[in-house]
């Protein structure tokens, strides 16, 4: 990978991190409502996977969607405007934090009924398969989603119909507040794919280049028409499940241990070793700070949707 490409990935992870920190602040100030789930700590998975896609490949994820949205190319200002409920948000202020989407970027959304979007992913992939497109669908979900019916129905249908899907399980060790081993009969999520005859792999989700390499392997399998592939990314969320979560269920030591492997810190070292100048990384940090400051200003200054807007977009045809 050339230095410019590496720098771009670095900057994307930093933008996700800073956007999430800003979201946290705005939430605490009461400017963002509803439920909100931060991606801090998991940046390398979203950026690593999505950066390996072609523009016509699809991405769909769950409610922890800010980072994936940015990885897909959404602008921070549009994301923030949505979270502030503004007319300029990606969903005109009707979706909020958990429901970001941009059809033009083939980012099919943030979906907040756990696991339900796995079923949607089969249909999205089927649409492309039916038309003879070689597009791949990336379906992100957490370890917590592997115990719901949709996971099993979706993986089975994808395998039976040989659908072009890379299932990306972001195993961050907790489903809401509960540790994985308390609620899942197996703790290696990828073993669940074996029941559906699906090839699978595990990757260090804190290592951007490892995630990207594993994704490229998955894409090669799927794009060649061999059916779905299951990639388990071992990662960690530094913050709680959502904003109300005080995280009593885990220790400070555990969080510190994962932070020692911070995906951005690790990749910064990789960049320096590859000969990228510290000044270039600092400039990237600065650029992101400006982007986020401008995004906040844009979101705050944007108009609220008109009250009459509630009546729109419900039906495409008859109103």
């Amino acid at each position: 990978m050339d230095q410019a490409a590496m720098l771009k990935l670095y900057q994307q992870m930093v933008e996700i991190r800073l956007l999430e920190e800003k979201c946290e602040e705005l939430y605490q100030k009461g400017k963002i409502g509803g439920f909100m789930h931060l991606y801090i700590g998991q940046e390398a998975t979203g950026v690593g996977v999505v950066s390996a896609r072609q523009p016509h490949d699809n991405v769909i994820t769950a409610y922890r969607d800010h980072g994936i949205a940015l990885a897909c190319g959404m602008e921070s200002k549009i994301v923030l405007a949505e979270m502030l409920g503004k007319a300029t948000g990606c969903c005109k202020g009707k979706g909020g934090s958990m429901h970001l989407a941009d059809v033009n970027l083939k980012f099919w959304g943030g979906h907040a009924i756990v696991g339900a979007h796995i079923a949607l992913a089969t249909g999205i992939a089927w649409g492309d398969q039916y038309r003879g497109s070689d597009a791949v669908t990336f379906c992100f979900f957490g370890d917590g989603a592997t115990n719901i019916s949709y996971f099993h129905e979706g993986l089975n249908l994808a395998a039976v119909w040989k659908l072009p899907i890379v299932f990306v399980c972001e195993n961050n060790k907790y489903g809401m507040w509960t540790p994985l081993e308390k609620v899942s009969a197996v703790t290696q999520m990828r073993r669940k794919a074996e029941a559906y005859g699906m090839p699978h792999a595990e990757v260090d989700g804190m290592d951007l280049l490892a995630v990207r390499a594993a994704t490229e392997k998955a894409i090669a399998h799927v794009r060649a028409g061999n059916g779905p592939y299951f990639l388990e990314s071992l990662t960690y969320r530094y913050r709680g499940h959502s904003m109300g979560d005080q995280r009593p269920y885990r220790t400070a030591e555990e969080i510190k241990k994962w932070q020692a492997d911070d995906p951005i810190g690790q990749f910064e070292d990789v960049c320096l070793k590859a000969g990228i100048a510290q000044t270039a990384l600092d400039a990237a940090d600065k650029a992101v700070e400006t982007t986020i400051a401008e995004a906040v200003a844009f979101a705050e200054e944007s108009p609220a949707p008109a009250l009459d807007e509630i009546w729109t977009d419900i039906y495409a045809s008859v109103s």
């Binding site: 339900a116 089927w126 039916y130 949709y150 129905e153 495409a316």
Partner: protein, 324 residues
């Protein structure tokens, strides 16, 4: 005009639409090789092939969910959920996704899908396989819900559902598949979305029904006519969007109404229609509006008990006597 059964009319509508639009796919449990549990997809697999007519696993959640995803991504899926009782397993996809992916994402996505399913009792299948929960689906903005009462309507309404850019629950009644009727062979016989239909003219009492109860209401109307009472029978066709204009118009003339539905009356079609009549036509009410519905019990297996619990012609006659 050719005469055919409702299941043939459905298969004909599907075939004509698939011929017209290559983005239509038909799938579900036993719809392809077997041609559908009720024969409503017979011949499609042979004619359109395995890419467009597919059997699925017994997985209602992913049948409905894949339909939503496929509809978002350019297909026009017609998915079959074998029985509406199993649609509860797909409820989340129908009400949380099909009904919402357009509005929640600010109008970015279209969801042109049809879920065909079978509702109703009368086949000794006991409590979990005999329900008529049609109104539940009609509760949700974002969905359309339609239920045909004749073979011609089955064709024209299914074609309307398939051509709709919004999600439609197309609810067929389980005991009606072999009922026959004239069906227009015009390939452009497409009935409008959200329009009810007057099935019999009469100026004394307004009978409002849909799906199977249209036939029950018509039989009652026939008997009442012999006794000198003329009933206007209005088939709602669509539970959402609900078109009550012809109901109001008729009621302003008759001042009397009976609503007939196969499902339970509590929070039902009758409850909704009667309330709207009281709201819109209060000055015209000459008698308390009556509701005929299934008795408020889970349907039993025993044939006689099941018949006793389901609404019938006599129930309608008695209700009409109360409003006269």
């Amino acid at each position: 005009m050719p005469v055919m059964t409702i299941s043939k009319a459905i298969a004909l509508a599907l075939a004509e639409e698939m011929e017209r639009d290559a983005s239509i796919v038909v799938y579900g449990e036993e719809v392809a090789v077997a041609g559908g549990t009720y024969g409503a997809t017979a011949g499609l697999y042979e004619r359109f092939g395995p890419q467009r007519v597919l059997d699925t696993p017994i997985s209602e959640g992913v049948i409905a969910g894949s339909a939503v995803g496929a509809a978002m991504n350019g297909l026009r899926p017609v998915a079959e959920i074998m029985g509406i009782n199993f649609a509860f397993l797909a409820m989340d996809q129908i009400v949380n996704h099909a009904a919402k992916v357009r509005s929640m994402f600010g109008g970015q996505f279209k969801c042109p899908l049809v879920i065909r399913t079978t509702s109703g009792g009368g086949r000794q299948l006991a409590a979990t396989h005999s329900q008529t929960p049609d109104v539940i689906f009609a509760h949700f903005p974002g969905l359309y819900v339609v239920a045909p009462s004749t073979a011609a309507d089955a064709k024209g309404l299914l074609k309307a559902a398939i051509r709709s850019d919004d999600p439609v629950m197309f609810i067929e009644q389980a005991t009606m598949y072999s009922e026959r009727g004239d069906v227009p062979d015009d390939k452009e016989f497409v009935l409008p979305i959200g329009k009810s239909d007057v099935k019999r003219q009469g100026g004394d009492v307004t009978l409002i029904a849909y799906s199977k109860t249209v036939g029950i209401a018509l039989k009652a109307a026939q008997q009442l006519a012999a006794e000198g009472t003329e009933c206007q029978v209005i088939d709602l066709r669509w539970l959402r969007p609900l078109d009550l204009e012809p109901v109001f118009e008729s009621f302003k003339q008759t001042n009397r109404a009976v609503i007939v539905e196969e499902g339970w009356g509590t929070y039902g079609v009758g409850a909704e229609v009667a309330t709207r009549l009281y709201e819109e036509c209060f000055d015209y009410v000459d008698a308390p509006i009556q509701r005929v519905a299934q008795k408020e019990v889970p349907l039993p297996y025993n044939a006689e008990l099941e018949r006793y619990a389901l609404p019938n012609v006599n129930d309608v006659l008695e209700a009409v006597k109360k409003v006269l």
